[in-house]
């Protein structure tokens, strides 16, 4: 690729999802992240009970992310052909796992603040 600037990457993502959906998704991700930081600062500590449920949800997030990408791209696990594929595959699973963990923790903290 000739010029891989931030603007180019944003432009490409806008085309993948549509401008509206992309920015809604960015906003949602930002809101969840901010919510997470907010409850951490508010509570001054991590609630390990809430973290446990968040951790338990991680495999679900990992599998959902992988399933989504495979489904959207007409591909299957057997298509992984080299080391970089495994790295990308694990990256997608990790992103799904971390994403859902943050989401679950934040929702619990906002819904049931005191435990």
């Amino acid at each position: 690729m000739e010029e891989m600037t931030f603007g180019t990457i944003v432009a490409v993502f806008e085309e993948i999802f549509g401008r509206g959906l992309f920015w809604i998704m960015v906003a949602l991700a930002a809101i969840v992240t901010l919510g997470y930081v907010y409850v951490l600062i508010r509570d001054h500590s991590i609630s390990w009970r809430k973290f446990l449920l968040a951790q338990l949800s991680m495999p679900i997030g990992a599998i959902a992310a992988v399933w989504f990408v495979l489904g959207m791209t007409s591909s299957s696990l057997g298509d992984l052909g080299g080391p970089v594929d495994v790295v990308v595959f694990l990256g997608i699973a990790a992103a799904g796992a971390v994403g859902i963990a943050i989401l679950v923790y934040t929702i619990q903290s906002l819904v049931r603040p005191k435990q």
């Binding site: 690729m1 000739e2 010029e3 891989m4 600037t5 931030f6 603007g7 180019t8 944003v10 432009a11 490409v12 993502f13 806008e14 085309e15 993948i16 930002a30 901010l34 907010y38 600062i41 508010r42 990408v69 959207m72 791209t73 007409s74 591909s75 299957s76 057997g78 298509d79 992984l80 052909g81 080299g82 970089v84 594929d85 990308v88 595959f89």
Partner: protein, 436 residues
């Protein structure tokens, strides 16, 4: 120790402020616009013409930009291979030409009928006479289906005949014929023309995909695959040709090199080839036809073509690094029509557009241009559903990987397939808007 405390409102207020500041600081085209009254005419509103128009509008203030193109639909041509393999519907590649054009340009929805490079005018099919100071010729190319004896486009989709280059509906019909073959087996014959052509990887991709689909359908043992091409090698870049040769051997795909398809007998399902030993015939149950490709008649009639190269094809005579016409310094060639040794792909267009843009603006500003085109072309060579090789190269046949050390160009990878599936059309669209 100061305790970090914030109310919910303060916290989100701060966060929103930060986000707004980031958005305001987002980088745009920082270059100042050039004021000019130049009349710029672009023949063709395909990938090249549209991307260039969008970029020129951003760079020039006061220029009169006119595009001449009769085509109502804009085609995302890299998607045709996917349509012809049943992976995408025909409308995946279709949008409207006007969807992509910026405000402030004029589209004349007629064909260019005559170019007079001496008088600097273009006459349209409707008789309009358009004068220009600078001209960019980007009309694409024409598929010479009549050159294949016994073949016409209305045959596509029946009797085992495919021709995916002809457009979205023909790509979808090609899939009908190819799918029937993948379910019944027989002899599959895959061809390519002798002339320069759009995306020289596409004939190979179609072969690989239909072979893979036949294998998945459990019919591989009942099907034979044969690739016949007029060239001496499977691909123009030697190192890639060798890789494809190995993959063909692995997948049991036979080859007949130096064989040019001259005609078919659709009833008898027999193809005729001109080969080194004269005329040969091959029977088929499915054949994929890619006709010879040439510059549009208007280019060839207007004296813009090379006189001593590609004389049967008529590509525009231009410098291969600046794309500027060698005899008329107010004319540039862009995209398929350019008479350069490589680069009839959308990826090439992406790299050619900034060069033509810079050449044009440099001419307006009276300075020397700084951008050059090195022949860059990219071909996500699909080798099966789910895997591809991300092959990029230049005029020297050097591999020019975008992600060296990360994505190996000659390895069949899932990530390369993901890029084709997810990012390619998006990048293409961003290019059309002048943003990539």
């Amino acid at each position: 120790m100061t305790k970090l405390t914030a109310t919910r409102r303060q916290f989100f207020g701060l966060a929103a402020g930060g986000a707004a500041a980031t958005a305001l600081a987002a980088p745009g085209d920082a270059r100042a616009q050039t004021a000019t009254k130049a009349r710029i005419v672009i023949i063709g509103a395909g990938a090249g013409g549209t991307a260039l128009a969008n970029r020129l509008v951003a760079r020039l203030d006061g220029a009169e930009i006119t595009l001449i193109d009769p085509r109502v639909d804009h085609l995302y041509q890299p998607g045709l291979s996917l349509v012809a393999a049943g992976l995408k519907p025909a409308d995946y590649v279709v949008s409207k030409t006007t969807d992509w054009l910026p405000d402030g340009v004029t589209l004349i929805a007629e064909a260019a009928a005559e170019i007079d490079p001496e008088a600097k005018t273009v006459t349209t099919s409707g008789g309009q006479n358009v004068a220009y100071d600078f001209l960019v010729v980007a009309p694409g190319l024409v598929l010479d289906h009549d050159a294949i004896e016994g073949f016409s486009l209305d045959m596509v989709g029946q009797n085992g005949i495919g021709a995916l280059y002809a457009g979205p509906e023909y790509a979808a019909k090609t899939w009908q014929a190819a799918q029937a073959f993948s379910e019944t087996g027989g002899m599959g014959l895959f061809t390519r023309p002798e002339t320069e052509m759009k995306c020289a990887g596409a004939p190979l991709k179609h072969t690989f995909l239909i072979e893979d689909i036949t294998r998945s359908a459990g019919m591989r043992s009942k099907a034979e695959f044969h690739y016949a091409a007029p060239q001496g090698a499977l691909f123009g870049v030697p190192i890639v040709a060798e890789k494809v040769r190995m993959l063909f051997a692995e997948r049991g795909i036979g080859t007949s090199m130096q064989h040019r398809l001259t005609g078919i007998d659709a009833g008898a399902r027999r193809a005729t080839f001109a080969g080194p030993d004269g005329t040969t015939e091959m029977d088929y149950d499915y054949i994929h036809i890619i006709p010879p490709q040439r510059a549009p008649e208007v280019i060839r009639q207007s004296g813009l073509s090379w006189a001593d190269k590609w004389t049967d094809q008529g590509w525009v005579e231009c410098d291969k690094t600046s794309l500027r016409h060698l005899r008329y310094d107010t004319i540039w060639a862009l995209g398929d029509v350019a008479g350069v040794p490589k680069g009839k792909t959308a990826a090439s267009v992406k790299w050619q557009v900034p060069v033509v843009e810079d050449g044009l603006i440099a001419a307006i500003e009276g300075r020397e241009p700084t951008e050059t085109y090195n022949g860059y072309t990219s071909c996500p060579m699909i080798t099966r559903v789910g895997r591809a090789m991300l092959i990029e190269f230049d005029y020297n046949n050097d591999l020019t990987p975008s992600f060296p050390g990360l994505i190996a160009p000659l390895e069949e990878l899932w990530i390369s397939w993901l890029m084709k599936e997810v990012a390619l059309k998006a990048t293409y669209n961003a290019m059309l808007r002048g943003r990539a």
